[in-house]
């Protein structure tokens, strides 16, 4: 049973990807993607119900698994090397060749393959990750089916590039499942590299100059992460003589000698999660079709980074590494919030907010108390749903209005009420109580309160975050008055993922106490909160979760009722000094000509707007990373 589920979850997407690539019919491809989505979503739920396990599957087709991994790794690295040569990027070539040499030497001459330990290990953290990856990832793939058809219509391609696109889209899901389930760090490394290649292929999908440049940037940055990972792996093996992740974590930092590999792992994780100064690859990934960005940002890829940091968190608890991880995570949170506040490009706002939230998770991993770890894990869960939802909404909006600029989305409620309401709800779940993201932020702030250099960036950053979300939500709703709003048409395959995600985001938040006690508590060394009647409580603070939710919900329902009742109220145009024409959205200008009313949001160009800020942020972020690695040497 377990073997089958693991096979479906990890290799299933690879097989589906291969089928997508080989069979060129659009209908068959849609069917394969849908079927795979249902299959892995179901499998992930079954796996979750079965609970934590450690397991070694029998060799596939009689070949020892480590051979498969070695071949797979080599094949993967050579494919990446081919692309490095194709695009003539010297640094990537060096990094990949370095990885090939190290890996082959390590695998062939150093590792003792007879060592006996479970190849797969899953505690609740892995199971949560599998659930998120499989469910949110599948929904994004489903959304991609109609999206990509439209996307290619816009481009007017002669030959569809969809087979390759879907192949890599689903392969990334499989690789992520593999990454979070494997206990052998060589496996982890392989899956880590597959996501690198997959993201490279997906970002370069449109094949124009920006796409390729950004893809190459993503490739070399992730290769830096890969190289750091491989050094960490070999270093750890030299010290401990094992590739068993659990043993490595349990051994801890061993009085400091294990710190360097752990620091390198954290470094790899932070690059993967696009932390400052490596944020540019994730921002560049925005040129790709929206499902790519949604997949990379919400459930996979960047979450691989935070997963590794949280997974190895017990290993570096109470060290300098832990503290500097917390500080650099918090700094990333602050810096990206400041950058997001000046952006009017919707997708970039989402990207910065992703990096910021990942920074917050790193900060939680660095603070390394049960409260902080709880906050980090909850943030992974809630953030995945809300962020995937927002990305898909922006993608859908972009296909309708031809722009991703927030100012162009002004008054979108009048044109696309359904999508707009879903997007606004998504935004609300990202920033306001009693929704999950804010609950986790509350935990994070309370956990960070003893760390001055963490709390200051968190306090300032979260205020900025509120500003850019609220601004966006308001602008989406700023519709001319008195307009009859007709719900827009949405295809089934577009609406289904959106609805599932928005309900997921809301319902999961509703069940936050349950999510906490059933999912998170078993991972923690000691439960961080006691829950009574939906009230989170520990010596530091109290979050009256259900009471607050109940009252706000009542207020919300009454507000909806009042708004409905206001249908009878007299409509009046906005105040325009009495100079409005018969169209209330314009006023009478010179020569009795109507002038349209325009207003724009403030984007703080004078404070956060210059490029110098990015440079300084990158320098400072780089220094913090250097501190993180250097401090543990």
């Amino acid at each position: 049973m377990l073997n089958t589920i693991l096979f479906v979850l990890i290799l299933g997407p690879f097989i589906a990807g291969a089928l997508c690539f080989i069979i060129r019919s659009g209908h068959v491809r849609s069917f394969i993607v849908l079927a795979m989505g249902c299959l892995i979503a179901t499998a992930s739920i079954i796996l979750f119900i079965k609970g934590p396990f450690s397991h070694t599957p029998p060799p596939l087709l009689g070949i020892p698994t480590h051979f498969l991994v070695l071949w797979g790794d080599d094949l993967l690295l050579f494919v990446m090397l081919y692309f490095a040569f194709k695009h003539g990027h010297l640094f990537t070539k060096i990094l990949i060749i370095f990885q090939i040499v190290c890996l082959d030497y390590f695998e062939l001459f150093m590792v003792d393959h007879t060592e006996n330990f479970p190849l797969f290990f899953a505690d609740n953290l892995s199971l949560i990750m599998v659930l998120i990856i499989s469910i949110v990832g599948s929904l994004i793939c489903v959304f991609a089916i109609p999206y990509m058809n439209k996307h290619e219509e816009h481009q007017g391609l002669k030959k569809s590039r969809q087979p390759k696109f879907f192949a890599f889209l689903v392969v990334i899901i499989g690789a992520m499942n593999g990454l979070v389930l494997s206990n052998n760090i060589i496996f982890m490394y392989m899956f880590f590299e597959i996501t690198t290649l997959g993201s490279f292929m997906l970002i370069s999908h449109d094949q124009n100059e920006t796409a390729i440049n950004n893809a190459v940037r993503a490739l070399w940055m992730n290769c830096v992460a890969g190289a750091a990972f491989i050094i960490a792996m070999i270093w750890a093996y030299v010290i401990q003589g094992t590739v068993d992740a659990q043993k490595l974590i349990q051994a801890g930092h061993m009085g400091g000698i294990m710190l360097t590999p752990l620091a390198l792992l954290c470094f790899a994780a932070m690059v993967k999660a696009a932390q400052i100064p490596f944020q540019s690859w994730l921002l560049g990934a925005m040129v790709a079709p929206t499902p790519t960005s949604a997949l990379l940002h919400s459930s996979t890829m960047v979450k691989a980074g935070v997963y590794i940091a949280l997974r190895f968190a017990p290993g570096y608890a109470g060290t300098f590494l832990s503290q500097s991880l917390a500080v650099s995570g918090a700094f990333a949170f602050l810096a990206t919030s400041a950058m997001a506040i000046r952006e009017s490009n919707g997708k970039k706002v989402l990207a910065y907010s992703t990096i910021g939230n990942l920074g917050l998770i790193f900060a939680c991993a660095g603070i390394n108390t049960p409260e902080a770890i709880t906050a980090g894990i909850l943030l992974i869960i809630f953030h995945a749903f809300s962020k995937a939802l927002l990305f898909l909404c922006v993608g859908d909006i972009e296909q309708h209005i031809g722009s991703r600029d927030i100012e162009v989305m002004r008054g979108l409620y009048a044109r696309m009420p359904r999508t707009t309401l879903i997007a606004v709800l998504g935004i609300v779940t990202m920033m306001l109580p009693p929704f999950g993201v804010l609950l986790s932020k509350w935990m994070a702030i309370e956990a960070a309160s003893k760390h001055l250099f963490v709390i200051l960036p968190l306090a300032v950053g979260s205020a900025m975050m509120v500003v850019y979300w609220a601004r966006w939500a308001g602008i989406l709703l700023s519709a001319p008055h008195g307009l009859k709003v007709e719900p827009e048409k949405q295809g089934l395959l577009t609406r289904f993922p959106l609805l599932v995600l928005v309900w997921g985001a809301v319902v999961l938040s509703l069940c936050a106490p349950l999510v906490y006690s059933k999912l998170v508590v078993p991972i923690l060394s000691a439960p961080s909160f006691s829950i009574r009647a939906g009230i989170f409580e520990n010596p530091t603070g109290t979050f009256l979760f259900y009471p607050v939710m109940l009252i706000l919900a009542l207020g919300f329902i009454y507000a909806v009722y009042a708004a409905k009742k206001a249908r009878k109220a007299r409509l009046s145009g906005p105040y325009l000094c009495g100079a409005q024409t018969t169209d209330p959205e314009s006023f009478e200008g010179p020569m009795k000509k109507p002038v349209a009313v325009l207003s724009g949001a403030i984007y703080f160009e004078s404070i956060f707007g210059n490029q110098k800020l990015t440079v300084w942020v990158n320098i400072f972020g780089g220094m913090l990373l250097a501190l993180l690695v250097g401090g543990s040497l």
């Binding site: 007299r570 009046s572 145009g573 105040y575 000094c577 009495g578 100079a579 409005q580 009478e588």
Partner: protein, 147 residues
Amino acid sequence: MDILKKLTRKSRIKSPWLLHFDCGSCNGCDIEVLACLTPVYDIERFGIINVGNPKHADLLLVTGTVNHRNKKVLVNLAEQMPEPKIVVALGSCGLSGGVFREAYNVIGGVDKIIPVDVYVPGCPPKPEAIIDGVVTGLEKFSKKKDG
């Protein structure tokens, strides 16, 4: 319910927020209106606040003659005030067009465009007269039907 209605009526009299619209006056009346706000006359002691927004206003104070260009603005402002509302015309020009009533572009007094409740004569009216006009207007609130 009766007591609530009474209270609302009383509050209306106690808290008139006024919107002052200069409909093309020579600024003589406007200066007198502003004089009402100064510490000497201090109309805030009656709860009167000079607001800039018809949506918050109860009392529209119009100075100056109405002409073809600004009649629309006057109508718009009056329309954007929620009921119940009072219109007070100030000064000779607001009442009838004053010395400008013969001009080719002038329509005449405020009441040619919107219904006026109180007329305050004078060129310009004294602040005492303006306050008196406003207070007279307040009594009309009790006769207006509820909004």
